[in-house]
Amino acid sequence: MVVCALVLAAALPNAERPGLEVSLTPAPGRLTVQLVVQHEIPQEWSRALVAGAPVSITYRLRLFRNRRWLWDQRLSGHELVVEAQRDPLTGVFTLIARQDGEVLASGHAATVEEAIHWVTHPPPAAVPVPLRHDPLWLVVRAEYLTRYKLLVIPSTVGTEWVTRAVPESP
């Protein structure tokens, strides 16, 4: 009972605030994923951006096939990396979104708020979806940076993993 209480206590904040809004738009053979980060960006991330350091948010998208009697089968994994860097001389923020290494979109922003809005509202990512009979799950997460506990234990700072059922294409 105590363990259940602890598990519930640990699960409650995640249930209330997953930190990532996911909108799925199905199409034949592909899935358009619109992501919006609802978390507050860590201060060191924002400070580094203002100071001119290149920073990025990595969105990890994993597509699973939901199998009834076996564990879920991972079909594909994708990375949407949105980079931002401010030119200290011109004050202009350069923004680039790459999906699996290919440039998806780019842009400029004059203020830090615009830049943060751009990286927390990245351009929609397209995920190939295979033809299937089983239901599919899309698991998504946004990662800001890596911290280390007790000096050596890595801990990723980001949103929780968000799972969404992939809707059937019309």
Binding site: A51, G52, A53, P88, L151
Partner: protein, 701 residues
């Protein structure tokens, strides 16, 4: 598989293999150190690579797993060996624990200190002054750009006002624009209308302005400014919209050197921020590297400790195994020499001891073999008994004497020996509390034998480890002695009887001859002959009485006796026996008492005094001396008589031997027998200055 394992076991114990493994570990440690040193030169993005952290984690975890496995395996093995009491396990456990404490403690301390110093150093490097400097650099760059933009906006506004004031004429506006361009010193002054450039004046020195792209129409809808990089410098353009929709654009090219410096400052600030963002990753990488190096050192040290503990104890274990085998009765074997060190010296000493023991063992076996041969060959029976005197084994002679052939083959119980007609012998053996000499008669196998025996304890007489019994068959010897004694007695009796018989026969013949002749002298002749016959018959009677006395001496009855008093009383009787003969006593015993039969001892001393008195000349002196010599009492009777005359002193102790021509010759024989019955001895010694000393020695312990 087994042969491979044997080969591995044989190979892994070789010194060069161990040295090679140790050197390999040292090389790995050096490589880790080199890798750690190289980390400083790597760019941050490489340094913070997750793959590197992963590899370090894998390396550290592998080392920890191997170390824990090795430690747990060896500790478990040591605990089991210690539980089973294996020799050397305590020493190895102590050695290993000492190694662990000596290695783990300092290494852990150094690791924690290094990690702490590293963490603090990184934190100190990202300190507030540095951060302030980076922030001020960024602010300076931003301020410079903002100032240039403001200046350009003001200039654009001023130009727009003057151009508007010049009127609607195109020529007037161009003239005003050219005048203001020269007057304000702008690098770019342009007039746009309906998205088309009317005139654009550029500073010929600022060629970089030609590379600029045109401003888009949407931006020109209202006033504004823009900063752009081009040609290694920063160009600031500002524009102002006039009332008629015309746009005045003013541009300024900032100095390239200043912008380059600003760029470097800004890049340093950005790099600083990026490093700051990756500070924890850098620290983790370095700490993991430190940890791996420390673990490598600990691994090498623990492995070395285990190896050394095995190497130290292996020769000792071999020594113990060898001695344990020897304790179980197996042959003591030499141990292989481990090394030329102190342990090797110990092993060499042990091997030398083994060699000496083997030589002694061989010599002992040879001695035993010879002794066995001697024991089998001699006619003296030898028995050996255990400490509790429950079983006995003997040589063939003893087996034959006791009529038990199996006694020479295996140990027999004493009861079994007693039941075979040797009860008196067994009783004597059981009652012996120390060295015993005596004689005993046994009736083994229906044959009576007179045995002389000597019982000796083995080792300490107080706590003997066993007993040895020597048996001598005296049956034949006693029989021969008895026959010789009877022959001697018969010869002496015949000799003693023959002497008086001749005068008796002559006296009888003379009486007979005178009786045939007749005459008046017959009576006197008969009278003289009868007197002679009676005299010699009396002598014969005395001889027979002396013989009876010698034969009928009673056994001695020992009791505490004051020898001094006894001798003084006896000498007092002799003093004045003859004129001019003195008797003197030198008593060094005083009131000391000894065990003796006073009656028989008085008789023996009287015989000695008789002989001394008879042998002493006129004016002589007989001295009787009593003294103690260690555990013996000596009684010396000395005279100044004729002495021994060069004769054998032992002859004087034979019965019926006399040099005096009178007497029975039995006196000294009686003395010797009485002294022997007391356990003592008597000797006749020639005295300096003439005379004889009769020295009687009695046990006085």
């Amino acid at each position: 598989m087994r042969s491979w394992r044997r080969a591995w076991e044989r190979y892994r114990r070789q010194t060069r293999f161990l040295v090679a493994v140790y050197l390999l570990l040292m090389v790995l440690a050096g490589a880790a150190f080199w890798l750690f040193a190289r980390l400083r030169d790597l760019p941050p993005e490489e340094l913070t690579n997750r793959l590197l952290v992963f590899l370090l984690w894998w390396f550290d975890l592998t080392l920890i797993a191997v170390l824990l496995f090795m430690l747990l395996r060896n500790l478990t093995k040591l605990l089991l060996e210690r539980h089973h009491g294996v020799f050397g396990s305590r020493f190895r456990a102590k050695l290993l624990l000492s190694y662990l404490v000596l290695i783990f403690g300092p290494t852990l301390l150094v690791f924690l200190l290094s990690a702490s110093l590293l963490s603090h150093a990184a934190a100190r490097w990202f300190s507030e002054p540095v951060e302030e400097m980076a922030a001020q650099g960024a602010a300076l760059a931003a301020g410079l750009r903002a100032e240039a933009e403001a200046r350009a906006r003001r200039s654009a506004a001023a130009v727009a006002r003057e151009v508007a004031r010049a009127g609607e004429s195109r020529a007037a506006r161009i003239a005003a624009l050219e005048r203001l361009h020269g007057l304000l010193g702008n690098h770019l002054t342009a007039l746009w209308r309906d998205g088309v450039s009317v005139i654009e004046l550029q500073d010929p020195r600022a060629e970089v302005l030609r590379r600029l792209s045109a401003l888009d129409e949407n931006s020109l809808a209202s006033g504004g400014q823009r900063s752009e990089r081009a040609g290694g410098t920063l160009i600031v353009r500002a524009w102002e919209v006039m009332a008629d929709g015309s746009v005045v654009v003013v541009g300024e090219v900032l100095p390239a050197e200043l912008i380059a410096a600003q760029a470097r400052l800004a890049a340093a600030g950005a790099a600083y921020e990026q490093l700051k963002l990756q500070r924890t990753a850098m620290t983790a990488t370095m700490v993991l590297g430190f940890g791996g190096f420390a673990l490598l050192v600990v691994f090498a040290a623990v492995w070395l400790g285990l190896h050394l503990s095995r190497r130290f104890t292996a020769p000792l274990l071999s020594l113990v195994a060898s001695t344990e085998r020897a304790a179980r009765g197996e042959t003591l074997e030499e141990v292989p020499l481990p090394a030329d060190d102190e342990v090797g010296l110990l092993v060499e000493s042990f091997n030398a001891m083994v060699r000496r023991l083997k030589e002694k063992e061989a010599a002992l076996e040879d001695t035993v073999h010879r002794l066995d041969t001697v024991l089998r060959g001699i006619r003296t029976g030898v028995l050996t008994m255990d400490r509790e005197r429950t079983s006995v084994i003997g040589n063939p002679a003893a087996a034959a004497l006791l009529g038990m052939p199996q006694l020479a083959l295996r140990p027999l119980a004493l009861d079994e020996v007693a039941a075979a007609g040797n009860a008196r012998l067994v009783d004597t053996l059981r009652s012996a509390a120390g060295p015993v000499r005596g004689s005993v008669t046994v009736e083994a196998a229906g044959v009576a034998r007179a045995l002389e025996l000597a019982v000796l304890p083995l080792g300490d007489p107080a706590q003997p480890q066993g007993w040895v019994v020597a048996l001598e068959d005296l049956t034949q010897l006693l029989r021969a002695q008895r026959q010789a004694a009877w022959s001697e007695v018969a010869r002496r009796i015949a000799h003693q009887i023959k002497n008086p018989l001749t005068p008796i026969r002559l006296a009888a013949e003379r009486i007979a001859r005178h009786a045939e002749k007749g005459g008046g002298s017959l009576g006197s002749v008969v009278s003289q002959g009868c007197a002679a016959i009676v005299e010699h018959v009396q002598a014969m009677q005395e001889m027979v009485d002396a013989f009876a006395l010698y034969a009928k001496l009673p056994p001695v009855s020992l009791r505490p006796t004051q020898l001094g008093q006894l001798v003084a009383q006896l000498v007092a009787l002799y003093d004045g026996l003859r004129p001019n003969l003195r008797f003197r006593v030198e008593d060094h015993l005083g009131d000391e008492e000894v065990l003796a039969d006073p009656v028989q001892l008085r008789q023996a001393l009287a015989n000695l005094l008789d002989n001394a008195a008879e042998a002493s000349p006129q004016g002589g002196e007989v001295v009787v001396t009593l003294a103690r010599r260690e555990s013996e009492i000596t009684i010396t009777v000395a005279d100044r008589g004729t002495g021994l005359d060069g004769g054998d002193p032992e002859l004087f102790f034979q019965p019926f031997y006399s040099t005096k021509g009178r007497g029975s010759g039995i006196g000294l024989a009686v003395v010797q027998r009485i002294v022997a019955d007391h356990g003592g001895t008597i000797r006749l010694l020639p005295r300096e200055g003439g005379g004889v000393e009769a020295v009687v020695t009695l046990p006085g312990g």
